[in-house]
């Protein structure tokens, strides 16, 4: 518990600038949505919290390789996800090279260190998601919208989602956004596990690969699909259900925590944290 409290304090002290950056990012995206809505003649009062959250975490419709349309990477969605994953990338690694090494030895437990870092990662991602929620709520209030997680019927068209794939309205994204956040946390835990083996740079490269592959392939096992609201069953016919997304996220998170704990119990702690 002591180690966790230290992590929460120190980890967030090192991240406060990044959270300000996250707020700025979401604020810019909110402004972009408002401008697009005005351009399309939408009523700003119809922009709900759900609309803003969808804009941040929409992603893109399912891509068909032989469908004739070129593949377009959902750049903003990828940037938001990778921003969060980069935010939690370095602290555990630096801690193990520094104060954490002594803490592991005098504390007498590798598992305790590992669990503390896992909790820290999840909390850090949760705070990132909270930033998104706060900015979305504030933006909605500023434009006279409503505090609701139901998405306007015009939003899928504003986002350029494929009409043929759309589910029937209304689009209530409450459960789907929770799954998206949980999936982001699960991928962050997987990235943490990988960083024990490969170091932070390569683990982040793997996260980038997963994000890109998820955009290209529609497969629930590619966790990035659960992070895209456009591919959830609330918006997409045959999309990823809340149950499936939650199962995959919790499985990935659980497996990452367990595998990481076992690996960390076994590995050498040297100046370069490499699996031997």
């Amino acid at each position: 518990m002591r180690l966790l409290l230290v992590d929460l304090a120190e980890g967030f002290w090192s991240l406060w600038r990044w959270y300000i950056g996250a707020v700025a990012l979401f604020a810019v995206m909110s402004a972009s949505l408002v401008l697009q809505a005005l351009t399309l003649g939408m009523s700003l009062a119809s922009l709900s919290v759900g609309d803003f959250l969808l804009y941040y975490f929409a992603g893109t419709s399912q891509f068909f390789a032989f469908g004739g349309d070129p593949f377009r990477l959902p750049v903003m969605w990828a940037f938001v996800c990778l921003f969060a994953l980069y935010l939690v990338l370095w602290y555990p690694y630096r801690d193990l090279l520094g104060f954490g090494r002594a803490a592991v030895v005098v504390g007498g437990s590798r598992w305790r260190w590992w669990f503390a870092k896992c909790v820290w990662v999840v909390v850090a991602i949760a705070v990132f998601c909270l930033c998104a929620f706060v900015v979305a709520s504030t933006s909605s209030l500023l434009v006279g919208g409503c505090i609701s997680l139901t998405v306007s019927e015009e939003m899928p068209f504003l986002l350029g989602l494929r009409e043929s794939q759309l589910a029937e309205p209304p689009y209530s994204i409450g459960s789907s956004i929770a799954v998206a956040f949980a999936s982001l946390a699960a991928l962050a835990l997987f990235q943490l596990l990988l960083s024990l083996v490969t170091g932070p740079v390569i683990s982040f490269a793997c996260s980038i690969s997963i994000i890109f592959l998820s955009a290209f392939y529609f497969d629930p096992l590619l966790i990035g699909n659960s992070m895209m609201l456009a591919r959830s069953d609330c918006l997409m016919e045959g999309g990823i259900s809340v149950f499936a997304g939650a199962c995959i996220a919790s499985s990935l998170a659980g497996a990452s925590i367990l595998a990481g704990g076992l690996l960390f119990s076994w590995m050498d702690i040297t100046d370069k944290e490499r699996f031997k």
Binding site: V106, G108, T270
Partner: protein, 233 residues
């Protein structure tokens, strides 16, 4: 406390970094490890601290094998490689956090009432001001080294591992470290000191082991358990 190292061998990236190390050490000893860079001094301390897993052989403390029976020594203070602490905290706060972790796991550490006093004492012993409000990130290299030593000796744990403790210290600081190590010995700690400073080691250690390419190639001194003191080989 009895520390036994038996046929300890460690391979990393295809290289043998420790090769057949054997030692039997007891409380109240000062053991020096000398050798050039890359000779295996730090790696040996890491093995004793439980940070690395031997390829073969073992380290045991009071009959319990590290990495098998226990993950780490029960009562230990370490200064291995560069000291690293929480940059946003003062020296005192850093020591209290480490001390509380030791206390929290009930590893023969300090109780709550004496933790602050022990941390303050440790800082005074290394020549740092316990009331200094400066954060660790403002410390000079010498101050950081002193804080690292303070953390290692705080409460005089049974086993103290010091890797190049005189780095970044002036003559006064080096003398202070020497006195602290002798005081730790007097309180029953087993102190292992790795250093390339032969004069420093031979001035305080009961026995000095010279490492080269992961092996002990020479030994100077008589183990205190056999009733001897420092002697030329």
């Amino acid at each position: 406390m009895k520390l036994v190292i038996q046929d300890l061998k460690k391979e990393m990236k295809g290289s043998v970094v420790l090769d057949g190390i054997n030692m039997e050490l007891s409380s109240g000893e000062i053991v020096g490890l000398e050798g050039v860079n890359g000779s295996g001094k730090t790696m040996l301390l890491r093995a004793i601290a439980g940070l690395i897993r031997p390829t073969s052989g073992f380290v045991s403390i009071d009959g319990k094998r590290l990495r098998k029976d226990v993950p780490f020594p029960q009562s230990i203070g370490i200064l291995i490689e560069n000291p690293a602490f929480l940059e946003s905290r003062t020296g005192l706060a850093n020591l209290m956090i480490l001390g509380a972790m030791r206390k929290a796991t009930k590893r023969g550490g300090l109780d709550s009432s004496s933790l602050r006093e022990a941390a303050r004492d440790s800082l005074r012993m290394v020549g740092l001001d316990p009331d200094d409000e400066r954060k660790y990130k403002k410390y000079s290299l010498g101050m950081k080294q002193r804080l690292g030593i303070a953390a290692a000796i705080m409460g005089f744990p049974q086993l103290i591992l010091l890797d190049e403790p005189t780095n970044a210290l002036d003559v006064e600081g080096t003398e202070l470290v020497r006195r602290l190590i002798l005081e730790a010995k007097g309180k029953g700690s087993l102190v292992m000191v790795a250093s390339h400073d032969k004069d420093f080691l031979h001035g305080i250690a009961d026995e000095v082991h010279t490492l080269r390419e992961g092996r002990i190639v020479s030994f100077v001194g008589t183990p205190i358990s056999q009733g001897g003191g420092f002697d030329e080989a």
